[in-house]
């Protein structure tokens, strides 16, 4: 296993996170690698930016230090062997009699790997070389408890490590530039564990209706009274109440704003599609958003996965790939300064169980998407599905620590070199999929 033994060899020049590089970096914003702007179908992107007067400048925005990060957590243990089937691995199809993606169904990536047919929208991004696939990734010593694994990964630590804060929070607290111009945003209801800690954050369903449900005439008085009632003592709930009032004011200018995706992007009519549009909107409004998270649930498919043609897995992958594909199209040139990373708590058993499903496994696939990603390539070491190469429980190993993937993005795209603070007691290895910004 290749865990922490290798030295920290991630020091790719130009991505050291030195504050002095900030100005240079700002100049590069909007400049795209490989002529993203000129790419077919994206040429009209600039016209669709949110240029409504009074909207763009409504926030006390500053320029982001690095890329805007969108972290998508696939909850339940996504079956990476369905999303990116190793069609060229002789150990694959035989162990999955009803659920395997066949060579003819797969969208071929290279000699070993393909995409599930419903991943077609992401195949286009792969072909544009803006999507990297990291195989056999995960926590090398991983637990198979959903709850433990999700918690550890969002904190950015090994399972037993007792660190209170989340890795995204530590990115902001450790870097020289400090807090982002705009709070980190999670679409949903709960504060994601990755945001836990002192950096500011907003959790919301939608920016356009984030307001108190009171008559407009009394709104200011109600807000003031709520603030007063949560003053004079210290507690986490009191602090949270004040942050909520701050968020209401911060988002006041987004009220009733409707949204038209650009470049003909069509988001799936799902919670995930809606949440992605919320993020796309904020990015286009140039408020200074630097980190966002959202969840896509429902991957714990112990039974009734269906076939590559139809059923639970096909539907989920369609939502996933269709959503991220639309996000990519919608953002157009802004993808040059946006990085999306996906993660899941663990992969699933190589062998199908007796219920047309799979149980909790180990190694999994991660995706990184963006203009700053050296895509169209598979990263990580594929240990193969040969019996001798599997882990103790007979599952795919995790040969790349998930923190290697996150750390490379933090260093190269978010311009923070203080990785030992973001990922305490871990020395990440460079994978090379992210260009220095």
């Amino acid at each position: 296993m290749t865990k922490t033994t290798s030295p920290a060899d991630i020091g790719v020049p130009g991505g050291c996170g030195c504050p002095a590089e900030g100005a240079e970096s700002a100049d590069r914003r909007g400049i795209t690698r490989r002529g993203l702007l000129a790419a077919a179908g994206l040429a009209g992107a600039a016209t669709a930016l949110d240029l409504t007067p009074g909207r763009r400048y409504a926030f006390a925005a500053g320029a982001p230090v690095g890329d805007t990060l969108l972290c998508v957590f696939l909850r339940g243990g996504m079956d990476g062997l369905s999303a990116v089937p190793p069609i060229g691995d002789p150990g694959y199809a035989a162990r999955r009699p009803t659920i395997a993606v066949s060579e003819s169904e797969a969208l071929r990536l290279d000699r070993t790997f393909g995409f599930h047919p419903r991943m077609a929208p992401l195949k286009e991004v792969w072909d544009r070389k803006d999507l990297a696939v990291i195989v056999a990734a995960g926590d090398p010593d991983g637990t198979r408890s959903h709850f433990e694994a999700e918690d550890a990964m969002e904190r950015g630590v090994a399972g037993g490590d007792s660190v209170f804060t989340g890795w995204i929070d530590r990115h902001f607290t450790s870097r020289a530039e400090g807090q982002p111009p705009f709070p980190s945003v999670a679409i949903g209801y709960r504060l994601p564990t990755s945001f836990r800690g002192p950096a500011q954050d907003i959790v919301m369903r939608s920016a356009s209706d984030f307001r108190l449900n009171v008559p407009e005439a009394s709104e200011a008085r109600v807000e003031r009274a709520l603030g007063d009632l949560h003053s004079g003592f210290t507690s986490s709930s009191g602090t949270q109440a004040k942050e909520t009032l701050r968020a209401i004011r911060l988002l006041a200018s987004r009220r009733g704003v409707t949204y038209e995706p650009a470049n003909g992007a069509t988001y799936p009519a799902s919670e995930f599609g809606r949440a992605l549009q919320e993020i796309a909107q904020l990015i286009k409004a140039r408020v200074g958003l630097e980190a966002a998270t959202l969840d896509l649930n429902g991957w714990d498919m112990h039974s009734a996965m269906g076939t590559p043609d139809s059923g639970l897995m096909a539907d989920h992958l369609e939502d996933f790939a269709g959503g991220l594909g639309a996000f990519y199209t919608d953002l157009g040139p802004l993808m040059a300064t946006t990085t999306v990373v996906t993660m899941s708590e663990f992969g699933r058993t190589v062998a199908e169980n007796g219920s047309n499903g799979t149980d909790h496994g180990h190694g999994n696939v991660m995706f990184a998407m963006g203009g700053g990603i050296r895509g169209g390539k598979i990263y990580g070491q594929w240990p193969t599905l040969e019996k001798a190469e599997l882990d103790k429980q007979g599952d795919l190993r995790a040969t790349t620590d998930y923190r290697d993937v996150l750390a490379e993005i933090v260093r190269q795209r978010m311009r923070n070199g203080r990785l030992s603070e973001v990922f305490p007691r871990y020395r990440p290895r460079a994978l090379g999929f992210a260009e220095p910004r």
Partner: protein, 513 residues
Amino acid sequence: MSEPVTGAPVVGRRQVLQVAGAAAVVATGRTALAAPAPAPAGVARAKGLPLSRDPALHVARRLTFGPTPKLLARIRELGMSRWVEEQLDPDSIDDRTTDLYAAVPSVGDAPHVPFVRFDLGSLEAARSRTVIRQLFSEKQLYEVMVEFWANHFSIYGNHVLAGSYRNEDDLTVARPHALGSFRAMLHASARSPSMLFYLDQWLSDGKNPNENYARELLELHTLGVDGGYSEKDMSQAALALTGWTVDTGRGTFLYRPQSHYVGPLRVLGWRSANSTPQGGLEVGASLLDYLARHASTARFVATKLCRRFVSDRPPASLVASTAKVYLASDTAIKPVLRHIFASRAFRDSVGLKYRRPMELVGYSVRALGFEPRPQLAYDKARTLNNHLETLGQAPFNWPPPDGYPDVAEDWLSTAANLARWNFLQQLSRGQIGGLGAPDYAALVGTPAPATAGDLVDRLVSRLTFQQVAAAHRAALLRYLELSAEAKVDANAVRTHAPALAALILSSPYVGVR
């Protein structure tokens, strides 16, 4: 004014970090149970908030969905321990009014054959009964415990197969056993079609076991993730339970010998020769007995109960002594509860818990003096359940099997806060379907208040059962843009009370308990 909350130096989530830096040793999250690290005693504690330490009020805040004047009078009349005993004997309590309103039939038009169609009536009946009883039942501690166990053996009601049987699960697992024996409840849960569908156990067979149920049985229902078992123990447990399935024609538990794995088994200290297909029912039952009586289960269940009733991070000594009582009483639940309620840690825990959404709704509906009405029964409490969904804690609506979290930080977010405030605005204005409007004239009493200060004081006292800090009283008057001495007329209650009530219920005197 009551004396201020004092005690161990406790700080908020954000302060913790400033004190301890990045290496702060507070593991949290939905897996807080798994956290091995020591932690401050109560992240939720509001330092400097003058929360009343009146023992009767403390008991009412923690052991019920919310105090009412009648409930507080009863606690004072009986004294705490006799009141607890009364609550621990729910059959002795007359609850006919609630029974009437909570009796929503399971529609009756859907046969319990899951493949025909999803029986929404079953889920609706369970949700309606749950909410109406939580709000209005006289058996408050019983309802608190029913919710606790329903959450311990959590099943997502919208699961396409499990949902059709969610009502039956409620009637056969949590409700009959909430104050009985944990061991009996575990057996009932392991035979509940809803659970067997939810965690795929119905599909498991000896040739090709499905591990979903066995894993959660060990991790979430009994030993806990730190309970000392291995992956091997887990897969052995899965084999032990093969054959435990559902008769899908009848919708009842079925043991199917031909699906049972045969051969020696071992889970921690439990062994079975497991030599015949016919013996699998007994083998599984003996494993459940072993798990229910295991020291790790005792610790796990004790931790969760102490977390519910005492603090988010209960003292280790209380957890240990509670686990002992659990084992000594052969998993009986009542002695365990008596032990926790009589503890010094419980007595001293004022202000250490945050009110989760369901508990906030319960508190507010009860404090505002709502009574069950026919409209609520017609509505089957759907409107309230929809609001609870927005608030993030509708009954049986948590998708993963670990149940709603029970520590404050899992409920603190801008989205959660805004949803709470907006619900309270609607509730106070009488805009929640099925409930009607609060009778503010009755709440503030007669004669009607003559000054703004009097109006504020009476509403505060009626809705928080205590007085609040002078600055907070001033904040409410400032909202009215009136001085305390300002004269108010008879219309003032109608004009001002709804908005004031929403603010008072949004205040930390309700949110923190």
